[in-house]
Amino acid sequence: MQPETRKFELVCPAGSLPALKTAVDNGADCVYMGFRDDTNARNFTGLNFDLNNAREGVRYAHAKGKKALLALNTYPQTSGWQRWTSAIDNAAELGMDAVILADPGLMQYAAKTHPQLRLHLSVQGSATNYEAINFYHEHFGIQRAVVPRVLALAQVEQLMSKTQVEIELFGFGGLCVMVEGRCALSSYATGDSPNTCGVCSPPKAVRWQETPNGLESRLNGILIDRYGKDENTGYPTLCKGRFDVAGETYYAIEEPTSLNTLELLPELMRMGVAAIKIEGRQRSPAYVAQVTKVWREAIDACRRNREQFAVKPAWMNELGKVSEGQQQTLGAYYRPWK
C-alpha cells in the first residue's frame, strides 16, 4: 500500500537549458530532459541537451535542491545499441537522479553496469497493469513507473494497491489517445515512430498548402486536416485530424485537445500518487514557466487543505492559453471519455 503522506513531485519538461532553468525557478521538483539524438522520444531538431548543457542543467537543478531525470525512452535499434548504453553511462557520470527507460534490454544493462542508478519505467514501456509493473521491478529494480494515459482513476488506484513501485501520472499537456509504446501510426504514414526514432508525426513530413478548398495540412502527402477560413489550425498529429468514416467527417480518433487533471489533484494526493508529470519538452520556456507556476500553486494549495481545494478560474485560464486547440480534457481518468 502507498502511504498517502508521501511526496507528491511536480515533474516538468526541459527541452533546453533555458526551459530547464525556467522549470526549476518556477517550482518544479524534478526536470526531465533528453540527449540530442534518437535515444529520447522528443527527437526534434534544435531541442535537447549535449553533454555540456546537460552537465550545467544537472548542476543548476541540484544547486536549487531539485532533481534531474534523463529520458532514454526509445527502443534501441539494432544498428545503434552503443548510443543508448553511452547515454546510460553519461547519465550516471553526470549524476542524474534517475533514468527513464522503456527497453528491457537497456534496463538490464543499466541495472548491471550502474547498480546505484535509479530507474524509472517510461510511459513508452506500456505497463498498464501491476503484473507488468512488478515484472520490471523484479527483474531490473525499477522504482517508479509512469503509467500510460489510458487508465481510469479507479484502475490506477487498484494497480497501486498491488505494487510497491511508485506511480507517476501525466497531469497536463499533449494527450496520446493510444497506449504509449504501442502505436505505430506515425511510422505507417511517415516511416518514423516514437518507438524507433523518438518522433510522432515528424515536422519533416509536414506540408501546409493553401487550396481553393481551404488550408490543408499533410503528413507525407496524406491529408490530415483541412481548415475553413475561421477555424483555428493545429499541428497535424495524425491521430488528431478530421477523417471520413462511413460518409461522416469528424475527429475520428481524437480532437486536438490537452490533458488537464488539475481538478483531480485532491484525489491523486489521497491515492498516494508519487509524482505528476507535465508533458511538453518540445514546447517553449514560456510554456514551461506558465504551466509549472500554475501547477506549483495548485499543488501547494491542495497540500495546505485538501478538503477545501478548488481549482481557481485563473489557473484554468492560464492553462487554457497553452492548450492544444484551446481545449482541455480529463482524458481516460474520466471513464466516459472512453
Binding site: Y75, P76, Q77, T78, S79, W81, A102, D103, P104, G105, L106, Q108, Y109, G125, S126, A127, T128, N129, Y130, E131, A132, N134, F135, Y136, R149, V150, Q155, Q158, V177, M178, V179, G181, R182, C183, A184, L185, S187, Y188, A189, T190, G191, N195, T196, I222, L223, I224, D225, R242, F243, D244, V245, A246, E248, T249, A252, I253, A332, R335, W337, K338
Partner: protein, 303 residues
C-alpha cells in the same frame, strides 16, 4: 518454414467463428493462434469456448497457441490472463509484460509482436526467461531483422507478420463506439457489424486506417508474398497470416504453394490481388513508411 494463422482480430458471432476454424482445421496451416487479443468486452466466445476450438484444431494436427490480450487494465482482464497462462495444454503467446511475468521461468512461451523486441539484448533476455519463439514488431525492417537473426539465441524461432491489415495501435478509447456516439462501456457491441473493421478515409477519399474497436489497423493489407525470397533468405521460421472475413483459406493456400516453391511469388501475389479487402503495402519491410508498396523488380516484370 512454417505457416501460421494469427489471432482473429475482429468480432464475429460464435457460429461464424466456429465455422471459420472448422475450415481452418482442413487448411494447409501449421500453427494457429487463438483467443481474444483486442477487447475484453467481446464475450461471445469465453475462454472455455476458445479452448474447445483449440482442442479441435489440435486434434486436426495443428500446433495451437493461445494469445493473450494486448491491453490489460482491470483485475478481470488479469483473471482471464492467469487462466490462460496456467492452462496445462497449450503454449501461450504473451502480448504484454504482465503475461511474461506469469510465464517466465515456468513454461516455454511465444513473445508476441507487441512486446517491443527491437534489439538482440532484449531478445536474449526473453530467451533466458523461456521464450522459444518471437514475433517481430510490425514496423521492423528486413535490414533490422537481419541484424537480429545474426545474434539470435539458440533454439529461438523467428516469426514475421506477413499478411493482413496491420495492427498498428491500441487505445483505451473504442473508436467503433465513438463512431456511433456511444461510450465504450455501452458500445452495444457494434464491432459485430464490421467483419473486416471500419475503414477510415482521408477527406479526399484515400483509405488510410481501419477502426477495429480499441485497435487501429492499416487500411492497406500488409503483404510480403512478393518479398518471399528475402524472407526465406533471412532465416525466418514462421510466416503469419492474419484472418480476414473472406478468403483466408485461399490465402493460406497461396502462401503454402509459394513456401513449397510450387508457385512463383509473383504469380501467387497476382492471384491474391482480388482476395484482399484493400491494396497491398510492404513499406515497413523495406525500411519505408508502412503504407508504401515496393514491387520487387523481378516480380513486377513477371506478374
Amino acid at each position: 518454414m512454417k505457416l501460421s494463422l494469427g489471432p482473429l482480430l475482429y468480432y464475429w458471432d460464435s457460429e461464424r467463428v466456429n465455422a471459420f476454424y472448422d475450415a481452418i482445421a482442413q487448411s494447409p496451416v501449421d500453427i494457429v493462434y487463438l483467443g481474444e487479443t483486442v477487447c475484453s468486452r467481446r464475450h461471445l466466445l469465453r475462454l472455455d469456448d476458445w479452448l474447445e476450438v483449440a482442442r479441435k484444431l489440435s486434434d486436426a494436427g495443428k500446433e495451437v497457441v493461445l494469445s493473450t490480450q494486448t491491453l490489460i487494465e482491470s483485475e478481470s482482464d488479469l483473471k482471464t490472463l492467469r487462466k490462460i497462462t496456467a492452462n496445462p495444454n497449450f503454449r501461450v503467446e504473451a502480448n504484454d509484460m504482465g503475461a511474461v511475468r506469469l510465464l517466465a521461468n515456468r513454461v516455454p512461451f511465444v513473445a508476441g509482436p507487441t512486446l517491443n523486441i527491437y534489439n538482440p539484448q532484449t531478445l536474449q533476455l526473453l530467451a533466458g526467461m523461456g521464450a522459444t519463439r518471437w514475433v517481430m514488431p510490425v514496423e521492423m525492417s528486413a535490414a533490422a531483422l537481419a541484424d537480429m537473426q545474426q545474434s539470435r539465441p539458440d533454439g529461438m524461432e523467428t516469426e514475421v507478420f506477413a499478411y493482413g491489415r496491420l495492427p498498428l495501435a491500441f487505445s483505451a478509447r473504442c473508436f467503433t463506439a465513438r463512431h456511433h456516439n456511444l461510450q465504450k462501456d455501452d458500445c452495444q457491441f457494434r464491432c459485430l457489424d464490421y467483419e473486416n473493421g471500419l475503414t477510415l478515409k482521408t477527406r479526399e477519399g484515400q483509405p488510410f486506417l481501419t477502426l477495429n474497436g480499441i485497435q487501429t489497423q492499416s487500411a492497406r493489407v500488409y503483404n510480403l508474398l512478393g518479398d518471399f525470397e528475402e524472407l526465406r533468405a533471412s532465416g525466418v521460421d514462421v510466416v503469419r497470416v492474419s484472418p480476414q472475413a473472406y478468403h483466408s483459406e485461399r490465402i493460406l493456400h497461396l502462401f503454402r504453394e509459394t513456401l513449397e516453391q510450387r508457385l512463383p511469388p509473383g504469380l501467387a501475389l497476382s492471384q491474391m490481388e482480388k482476395l484482399m479487402p484493400e491494396r497491398p503495402c510492404n513499406g515497413y519491410w523495406h525500411g519505408k513508411p508502412g503504407l508504401d508498396f515496393i514491387p520487387q523488380p523481378a516480380l513486377a516484370k513477371s506478374a
